[in-house]
């Protein structure tokens, strides 16, 4: 294998940087269930990294470990070259790691714009008192954040529903709003848990395009979960394959596709 320590250039000419996040020997247990068993892999700056595997393989659990929702039973998480101490999810978010959920977690009672604005909370600095005392500065900050939010909304083509309460939106659009909220944080790493699940073909194509555009235009590092092989092959630079909590493959889409264990896992397990 070629040396990739300083990064590499993809076939379509995108420059991939060094390692920004590294999972070292992660194990996660729930009572007797071993959801993740001694898995290591890394994520490089600017790449689209996929985690695939059949249902119940432990993909969401891995994403939850990265985003701080689950605390690993064993192993280390390294971020930007430093070992990360145990952290609450909100602290991880403040470090520049944004995420979406497999089962969508939006603020149903708020408008689309308000939802996207919550994505800016990590970027807002002024305290309660300064907001009360220096109204001007707080306003300037609000305006700047509003601009980023509107840009993201334009980018994801959801201007027409800006003022709609999220609870009234159809599933496919909700998924897109959730992506918008995560993107509004201008994250270092964007984690997407099955961004295409439950969508029709057209919506899936849109979502694929958005993910590629986000990566291309903002250079955002993306780690995404998907269990549809085809989609993953089109999207990602490198793929981790999980099955029953173990890593059974890691490499470029082509390498993974020709891996015997991966083929077995995929043929042996029924998809839903």
């Amino acid at each position: 294998m070629k040396d990739m320590s300083e990064g590499y250039v993809t076939e379509d000419g995108r420059k991939i940087g060094g390692v920004v996040m590294e999972m070292k020997n992660i194990t996660l247990r729930f009572g007797g269930v071993v959801a993740i068993q001694d898995i290591s892999f890394d994520i490089r700056e600017g790449e689209i990294r996929a985690i695939i595997g059949p249902n119940g393989a432990g993909k969401s659990s891995m994403l939850n470990v990265i985003s701080g929702f689950y605390v690993p039973s064993e192993g280390e998480v390294w971020y930007k070259g430093e070992k990360r101490p145990p952290m609450r999810p909100y602290q991880v978010a403040q470090q520049g790691i944004a995420r979406t959920f497999q089962n969508i977690a939006l603020f149903e009672g708020m408008s689309v714009l308000d939802n996207v604005m919550t994505g800016r909370l990590t970027q807002m600095k002024s305290s309660i008192f300064s907001q009360a005392l220096w109204k001007g500065r707080a306003e300037a900050e609000e305006v700047a954040n509003r601009e980023v939010a509107e840009k993201v909304i334009d980018f994801l083509e959801i201007q027409h529903i800006r003022k709609t309460p999220v609870g009234r939106l159809p599933y496919g659009l909700k998924k897109r709003v959730e992506l918008a909220r995560a993107l509004a944080a201008e994250p270092t790493i964007l984690l997407l848990d099955e961004p295409m699940a439950g969508m029709n073909v057209e919506e899936k194509e849109d979502m694929c395009r958005f993910i590629l555009d986000v990566n291309d235009e903002f250079g955002t590092t993306i780690a995404l979960i998907e269990h549809d092989m085809g989609v993953v092959m089109d999207l990602s630079d490198r793929v981790v394959v999980m099955d029953y909590g173990k890593k059974i493959g890691d490499g470029s889409p082509d390498e993974v596709r020709n891996n015997k264990e991966v083929i077995d896992a995929y043929l042996g397990v029924a998809h839903d």
Binding site: S67, F69, R88, P89, Y90, Q91, A93, Q94, A98, R99, F101, A105, L106, F107, E108, G109, M110, D114, M117, T118, G119, L121, T122, M124, S126, I128, Q131, A138, E142, R181, A182, A185
Partner: protein, 328 residues
């Protein structure tokens, strides 16, 4: 105009003013319930504690003086100074924020994800504990609270209504001030929740905890914030009630009046708490005026609860809640 109608109008106005107080207490409940799903039984005692603390600070009382004297055998009760009302209010607010932080740190933080009934039990415990602390800190006798709010008959209204109807309405200045302050407080709360970063975070937490975490909001911080806000609202309610009838244990009982208010207004609606409070306030006064004599009087003791019961049967989601449709 017939006398009966004039009396009824006067009673309605007075009821509105009483309703403001119920609304304030209910507002404290709603704030905490929305953000954390906790039904805070201690809201009324918080009002009592806040008012007692305010009096204590203003009069320069030594906190826990009974205890201190019992242990060290001294006779100190007062520092010998008086603190101006405004400064004392600011200090009391700080005490309420400290209380909020302690409640979160020592109790609620350890009960995250517990059943609502367990959280409710915890607040019952908190209520009795806080009542005890209040007595121990500031003494249990009835205290008079005077922060300089105007009191007594409003002569202007008396004069105007006398000129117009030949009958002067008796409206207490304190009630008018209370209404204005409560109104300002509600507007301020609305502005806070709509236009500040923390307000947006608060609405986010009220909507979905998981999503709130994922955008970097500390739930603990928000919970301390809502308990502080509820403490502040309790202080305002405590000042109004205390100025009217003295700071005493009955203050914590108005919390029980807030229950029917919440059943009318819904447990999660701020406008609901306001409107519910006003309806109960006017309803019980008007009911007593119209039917009290026929029913043997003292209907104010039970009217609110019967009204709430009717709501529970016919409109369980309250005035503003969305209709609940069972998922099958």
């Amino acid at each position: 105009m017939p006398d009966q109608l004039l009396f009824a109008m006067e009673v309605t106005l007075n009821g509105l003013m009483a309703g403001v107080l119920y609304a304030l207490v209910a507002l404290g409940f709603v704030l905490i319930f929305k953000a954390s799903g906790i039904f805070n039984y201690a809201q009324g005692v918080m009002a009592l504690f806040a008012a007692a603390t305010l009096v204590g600070i203003m009069e320069g009382q030594v906190p826990f003086s009974h205890l201190i004297n019992a242990i060290f055998g001294g006779e100190v009760t007062h520092f010998g100074w008086h603190v101006p009302a405004l400064a004392a209010i600011v200090l009391t607010v700080l005490v309420m924020v400290l209380l909020a932080w302690l409640v979160q740190k020592l109790v609620m933080q350890h009960l995250v994800n517990q059943e609502p009934i367990i959280l409710f039990m915890a607040t019952i415990g908190l209520a009795y504990f806080l009542e005890g602390v209040s007595d121990l800190m500031w003494g249990s006798e009835i205290k008079t609270l005077n922060v300089g709010l105007p009191q007594g008959l409003n002569e202007t209204i008396d004069q105007i209504t006398y000129d117009a109807f030949g009958y002067g309405f008796f409206i207490d200045n304190l009630d008018i001030v209370a209404t204005v302050i409560a109104g300002l407080l509600v507007v301020a709360l609305m502005l806070f929740s709509q236009y500040t970063k923390q307000g947006r975070a608060l609405r986010a937490v009220a909507d979905d905890h998981q999503a709130a975490l994922s955008v970097g909001i500390s739930l603990n911080f928000i919970w301390v914030l809502v308990w502080s806000l509820a403490g502040f609202v309790a202080l305002v309610a405590g000042i109004m009630w205390g100025a009217k009838s003295g700071v005493q244990f009955s203050l914590s009982l108005i919390a029980l009046k807030a229950l029917p208010v919440l059943m009318l207004g819904g447990f999660t609606s701020i406008p609901g708490a306001i409107v519910g409070g006003l309806i109960i306030g006017v309803g019980e006064k008007l009911f007593e005026f119209l039917l009290g004599p026929a029913l043997g009087g003292a209907t104010e003791n039970w009217f609110a609860y019967v009204l709430a019961l009717l709501f529970l049967v016919f409109r369980p989601q309250g005035l503003f809640g969305e209709k609940i449709i069972e998922r099958v």
